[in-house]
Symmetry: C2
Subunit: 273 residues, 2 copies
Amino acid sequence: MQPHSLFIITGANRGFGRAIVTAVADAAKHKTTVILVGRNANELENVVQSVKDNVNIDTLLVSDISLETASEAHDTIFVKIKHLIETIQSGYPVLTRAVLVNNAGTTGDLSKKIGEYTAAEIQNYVNVNIASYVTLVSGFVNLLKEKPFDPDQPTPFPPALTIVNISSLLAVKAFPHWGLYATGKAARDMLLSVLAEEESSIRTLSYAPGPLDNEMQASVRATIGNEEQKQVYTDMANKGTLVKMKDSARKLIRLVDKADYRSGAHIDFYDKE
Amino acid sequence: MQPHSLFIITGANRGFGRAIVTAVADAAKHKTTVILVGRNANELENVVQSVKDNVNIDTLLVSDISLETASEAHDTIFVKIKHLIETIQSGYPVLTRAVLVNNAGTTGDLSKKIGEYTAAEIQNYVNVNIASYVTLVSGFVNLLKEKPFDPDQPTPFPPALTIVNISSLLAVKAFPHWGLYATGKAARDMLLSVLAEEESSIRTLSYAPGPLDNEMQASVRATIGNEEQKQVYTDMANKGTLVKMKDSARKLIRLVDKADYRSGAHIDFYDKE
């Protein structure tokens, strides 16, 4: 059977999401379709242009999305992805592998400690980073997992499924000023740990990419209300020891391709391979 | 200074919340005020009646609450608690200790696996068990934590603060069919771990009460879609080895009173003291 991999990458328009798209394109040795999900259509088009010379890559875009609530994530992202996948499945070669990379997320206001949040920002954070994420993971599993054989509605052999959560050291170690972020990342990790127990045919991975040399990290240094962490990150930036997005994205794709980690695990960029 | 302890207990109208109220009353050796938070005013009144013979206990009720969103939790619970505390603080003796016990929560539909959730039930679960909880913890910290001294607005010496999350083994170990529950409990644990790092004057504790001999456990056995767990819990129920609510609530109050655990820790009923 001719292999055909599908990657669905959220927050693909910039930052680490964009680096993951590049890493997927660089590693593609057979037909690979990438669904890029992001708010900004122009930025997504730029990402598509940057990988278009790879003959193995097909790209599809989902823009104008919203993560404001679970139902918005369902309607603006999941329903569109579902239609795209159904179209892909009706073509040739059929999908042999599908990988969902949940990269989209926000840091919350790092100047604040837990006692300073407003109800509105708590609700927004939880919607964008937990409710929407659970909705996408749930929908993806429902759509693609192995179904009981039905002779009246034969379905193609199901693709091998992998679900990735872009996690963080903060998901497993508490630091001040990361209240909402750490809460969200811990929640996201746990969902995939449970999923690994529920579905032996699905591989799940929570990947902590390290402190990345990108705009989000620059914003962390500019806004975090904790001097010790601000100093650590500033020193790393000055010494050039922040993790390069390209290196971290490559490690992630190597992990996903080799698939020899324990499903449900939390793996950090700094962990030995 | 005459000691005066305040306990705020959510979901106090029944089950483990009610057992916690009883344990607080049984352990009260000095003036203790308990704010009981729950949906059902009649049930709350019954709980009040059951502890009214303890001369050290004063009870205050907050009913008709909603955990549907962060802002509802703020308006229907936090604002009322705030007014009650301000009233208590203007009386005598002033509060020397305040303990928030976040016990309210739901299990979600345990017949389902992660691929079977609807967007609506994901949103509702996240609102009730994460967004509302973060809102209450945040508000409580903001209201009662040590403030910089202001000679124009002298505030009473701040009470010693403890914040408890009623957690679960599921927060730290993944089992099938607990997707939303485990996700929520992991999130709740992490918020208190970060809080412990942020506020050295506040003690936080995530307490896993064990598989309790109560209605919630009966509902778990009746609904869970995993035969192995159903069998384990049914065997425990038949053999009478489920944890008695009274024993678990007493252990919790001993932990809170002794305050010799590491702040931010996750402690299980079965852990050695």
